[in-house]
């Protein structure tokens, strides 16, 4: 289903539904009895950003689709410039130097860096002759991603830096060897196992598994050496995890991870947010307490409840029913974008749309997972829902660009392949 202009109506409807959910949730999360209408306060501000986004969207649709690919590196460059700029003239807000003040509004360059980096990544990957086995290409990709990650880390915003890991999903889709993804997931598993049981038990378990494995395959002599090296590697990794965790991570970061893994209970300290968040969502029951009736939200018990913890308001006031609705909207939207990516005829477009879907997925996974206690507290917003102009505008531009690229897919007569 699509309009005459080629815009995918399903995506637009899902976008509108999620944005509407976001604005009403922000309204409720910041509601003061008798004080403000939907058009005032923070929900009003969010509406204003929606308006600005629509204007920007119209401009995007008036542009030639080829403009984006052509100007990829300029867009990337501009975004990186902003990231550097914020370090120079940025305002310190709650410990992070992530904001540039422009009169009444503050913008957060990290929210646009994902957009810019996507252009660069799509550009490199769609270059004719790009190969995963060429070191030069790998270096290019690495540099393009590490620059924004590094700059954002310097700002002190670890959550936004982590978002760039979304690109690994893109690389996987685009043919990077699955070893990377598998080792990544394995590393996370070892990480969790080590923190829960300690590296000593981990080593014991690995050696045990190896011995059992060896007992069945001792005739195959050539397997012995690789197996032993894998065992040694994992044990070494586990030991270094323990070391890194203890010595590199800051105490609050350690605690957040420990709280998520249920290793410590700290409902007044590191676990406060998550505990309050779970209480708010959990108290919503099947059908919720009703719009504007979330006592826990109204009591401002959850820090960041209109930004990173916006899902609490949905969970408390809408209950399981509305929460599931919201999750389904996101899942459908992400899947729809993946579908748009897969039907693109140009590699650049495919990678661009696919990156957007992956970044949305990463945000969704980490943000919702955090509010319901399945992920450590990593401060990244729920796209289109959390309060915050930069995030909202950034994602709108991102989505509109993707939709524009999709809308013009029929112009791309040559189907690229790889």
């Amino acid at each position: 289903m699509q309009s005459k202009s080629g815009i995918d109506i399903i995506s637009v409807l899902l976008f509108v539904a999620i944005a509407a959910l976001g604005i009403t949730s922000v309204y409720s999360a910041t509601y003061e009895p008798g004080a403000e209408s939907l058009f005032a306060g923070r929900s009003g501000k969010q509406l204003m950003w929606l308006g600005i986004s629509v204007v920007v969207g119209v401009v995007i649709f008036l542009l030639n689709a080829n403009f984006f690919q052509f100007f990829s590196w300029y867009i990337y460059g501009a975004c990186m410039l902003l990231l550097v700029l914020v370090l120079v003239i940025g305002a310190d807000i709650s410990g992070a130097r992530s904001w540039i003040k422009l009169g009444p509004v503050s913008i957060q360059p990290s929210e646009f860096a994902k957009y810019g980096t996507t252009f660069a990544v799509a550009s490199i990957l769609s270059t004719i002759g790009f190969s995963w086995s060429k070191l030069q290409d790998l270096l290019k990709i690495g540099v393009v991603i590490l620059i924004p990650m590094g700059l954002i880390l310097i700002q002190g915003d670890a959550g936004s830096a982590l978002v760039f890991f979304s690109f690994f999903l893109v690389f996987y889709r685009e043919g990077m060897t699955s070893v990377v993804l598998i080792s990544g997931l394995t590393a996370i598993a070892i990480f969790v196992f080590t923190l829960v049981f300690g590296s000593w038990y981990f080593s014991l378990a690995v050696v045990g598994i190896f011995l059992v494995f060896y007992a069945f395959t001792y005739s195959e002599k050539k397997l012995l050496l690789p197996s032993i090296s894998i065992v040694a590697l994992t044990i070494l990794f586990s030991l270094s995890v323990q070391f890194l965790f203890d010595n590199v991570l800051q105490e609050h970061q350690q605690k957040r991870i420990q709280v998520t893994l249920n290793l410590i209970e700290d409902n007044r300290g590191a676990g406060y947010n998550v505990n309050q968040s779970k209480i708010a969502i959990g108290s919503g029951g099947m059908y919720g307490k009703g719009f504007l009736n979330g006592a826990h939200t109204k009591g401002n018990f959850i820090p960041e409840q209109e930004t990173d913890f916006i899902f609490c308001t949905i969970g408390e006031e809408g209950g399981w029913a509305v929460s599931v609705g919201a999750l389904v909207l996101f899942i459908l939207f992400i899947l729809r974008l993946y579908h748009l990516a897969s039907r693109a005829k140009k590699k650049f477009k495919r990678i661009f749309i696919f990156s957007l879907a992956s970044i949305l997925f990463f945000h969704f996974l980490v943000n919702i997972g955090m509010t319901i206690g399945l992920m450590p507290v990593i401060g990244i917003p729920l796209p289109l829902v959390s309060y915050g102009g930069s995030s909202f505008l950034g994602f709108c531009i991102f989505i509109f660009t993707a939709l524009k690229l999709d809308a013009t897919r029929d112009e791309d007569l040559i189907s690229t392949y790889s």
Partner: protein, 621 residues
């Protein structure tokens, strides 16, 4: 291969969605611990304390009113951050160490969304702190009512409030009180607790993390309206009460005055007394030890709780019983040589002329006469044996309200002493005791004890010629048609009214020619009876009962002054002064009795052994 990878990714996205949905189902629908936690954190029950009923005297003078008391509370969960602790401590007049101590205590003892930080904060500190309370998020005030008093008077009878005890909390049937609530501990505060207290209101509402109100809960369906307590109008005449207290100052003893026609108590005084405000919630902590350690027992309500042998004040009752039981007639004479011979023992009387009539026996307080009555009664052919005769005597006593709680509305009442026959059986062996063993009962000594209010009730009963109303201090309860019914029914004695006039004539002689004639009041016909009560521990107690005017009694009175000597010397003048003050207050100032009044007020009759151990701060304004 790439399509496979796309499928893996789709699958991964859907899997995450399903895990999230299941997780949400778990915490939202299956597990109610989160919902409970939410209510615990953000739902607050605010108790609205009612105004306790005011207390007035019989002329509607305000006696007791409410004084707000401020408890500084903390919202739970306690999250105190960014507050200026130094200036907070300064406002509250505590130091940093105490702040930390109280904060820790509050964290340990939170209850239903709140915890006590500091109780009973003064008005002044409250006003100072309230103004800046917005700076100290998480703190709020709860207001309760303490008592204050218009008069430094009537402390015992009014009683005081205190925190509900653990035992009361555990035993309550209707689950009204909560830990920390106040209730009446003594006096009318205790007796009329239910009427005075009202009904606490409850408001349920949501609070934010600063403890600020964020709207009502379930449309206020669970809220309870507060109902203020009822005002209480007492029968006490506060001017009379104060006058009696003035006379009893620096003496140990009691004055109880009753209106015979109604049983209303006009004054109920126990001395030493204390300033009631020193025993309210705010102050009691500072004075309690002083009160407990004072050997004169200033918080003990002698008027209702201390039984004394009535001594000779008992003789009118004994005479009435003798007349009713046939032991004597009103014309019976007994001869008295100044003693009564009982086998080898003699019971002393004092000098008076030999031939003693009933009236004279009262007027001159002849012990011999009453020993004879008692002997006649105990040995009367009406009864099979002494035990039966004693039981009959005892029934007469009970009909006068002696030997049992009267049921007055001032706690805590003593029954007095009145033994049953079984007691003497145990004491002397069954059938091994005769009238001779217990003859001192006939003149009010021995195993007989009356509280001052029981003595006053006896006076009122004689004044009424044979009946009494249970003495009480309630006159009217706001919004209530009547006082408790037991206070409006007549209690008849077992003595026929026709016998009373002969005895009353004797009591009139007491103030005309008898033991109290020296202090008679011109123009007021008082019927009285002096008593000098033997006290094994020290000087005799001085006692007196009376009522006036004799033919139309408006006031009946009993006075006991401990370790003071003759009844005629102290108790009787005090009683007469009180009677005069009540019946014709205007004559008192100009009468020749002003000097008597002055002498009594000035006299310190507190035994020397106690004087140095008294803590006068309890009595001060």
């Amino acid at each position: 291969m790439r399509d496979n990878r796309s499928l893996y990714i789709y699958f991964g996205v859907v899997l995450v969605g399903v895990i999230f949905i299941l997780r949400l189902f778990q915490i939202q629908v299956l597990d109610d611990k989160y919902a409970n936690a939410a209510d615990r954190i953000s739902l607050r029950k605010q108790t609205v304390y009612p105004q306790r009923g005011l207390i007035f005297d019989r002329h509607e003078n305000l006696l007791v009113y409410n004084d707000p008391l401020y408890d500084l509370m903390l919202s739970v969960p306690i999250r105190i951050s960014n507050i200026d602790t130094a200036s907070f401590c300064k406002l509250l007049e505590i130091d940093r160490a105490e702040f930390d101590k109280r904060l820790n205590a509050a964290k340990r003892n939170s209850f239903r969304g709140k915890a006590i930080f500091k109780k009973n904060i003064s008005n002044l500190v409250y006003a100072r702190l309230q103004e800046r309370l917005y700076e100290f998020k998480g703190f709020f005030f709860e207001i309760r009512q303490d008592r204050n008093y218009k008069y430094n008077s009537a402390a015992h009878l009014l009683g005081y409030l205190g925190e509900v005890s653990r035992k009361q909390l555990d035993r309550q049937v209707e689950e009204y009180y909560e830990q920390g609530d106040f209730n009446g501990k003594k006096g009318v505060e205790r007796f009329y607790e239910k009427e005075l207290r009202g009904v606490k209101g409850e408001q349920y509402f949501y609070v934010d993390k600063h403890g600020l109100d964020r709207g009502s809960y379930k449309d206020k369906k669970l809220d309870k309206e507060v109902v203020d307590g009822k005002n209480l109008y007492l029968s006490i005449d506060i001017e009379l009460q104060k006058y009696g207290e003035k006379l009893l100052a620096n003496k140990l003893g009691s004055v109880v005055a009753i209106e015979p026609s109604t049983g209303e108590i006009l004054a109920l005084i126990s001395s030493p007394f204390y300033n009631p405000v020193k025993f309210n919630i705010q102050n009691r902590g500072s004075y309690y030890n002083a009160a407990i350690n004072d050997p004169t027992k200033p918080i003990f309500n002698r008027a209702v709780s201390a039984p004394y042998p009535p001594g000779s004040t008992f003789k009118p009752v004994m005479a009435l019983v003798g007349l009713q039981d046939g032991a004597i007639t009103k014309n019976t004479y007994f001869g008295c040589r100044g003693y009564y011979k009982l086998g080898r023992r003699t019971i002393a009387c004092h000098y008076h002329s030999y031939n003693t009539s009933l009236q004279k026996s009262i007027a001159s307080s002849c012990n011999t006469y009453y020993c004879n009555i008692f002997k006649n009664m105990m040995q009367s052919g009406k009864y099979e044996n002494t035990e039966e005769a004693y039981n009959s005597w005892r029934r007469y006593m009970r009909s006068f309200g002696i030997g049992g709680e009267l049921g007055i509305d001032v706690s805590v009442e003593s029954r007095g002493w009145l033994r049953d026959a079984a007691y003497y059986d145990r004491m002397y062996g069954e059938d091994k005791w005769s009238y001779a063993r217990i003859i001192s009962l006939s003149f009010g000594q021995g195993e007989l004890g009356l509280t001052p209010v029981q003595m006053a009730n006896v006076a009122a009963t004689i004044a009424n010629r044979g009946h009494y109303y249970i003495p009480h201090v309630v006159r009217r309860i706001e919004n209530q048609d009547s006082i408790p019914t037991k206070y409006v029914v007549k209690n008849h004695t077992l003595v026929d009214p026709k016998h009373f006039d002969a005895v009353i004539q004797g009591m009139q002689q007491v103030t005309r020619t008898g033991t109290a004639s020296a202090i008679a009041i011109k123009g007021i016909d008082i019927a009285g009876k002096t008593g000098t009560v033997q006290n094994p521990h020290g000087k005799n107690h001085s006692a007196y009962i009376a009522f006036a005017p004799a033919d139309n009694p408006k006031i009946a009175i009993a006075v006991v002054v401990e370790e003071a000597g003759y009844g005629a010397t102290w108790a009787a003048p005090i009683a007469h002064l009180v009677i005069e003050k009540y019946l014709s207050p205007d004559t008192l100032e100009v009468s020749s009795r002003a000097s008597l009044e002055k002498k009594i007020i000035k006299s310190n009759l507190i035994p020397y052994k106690y004087r140095t151990q008294r803590d006068m701060s309890l009595y001060a304004e």
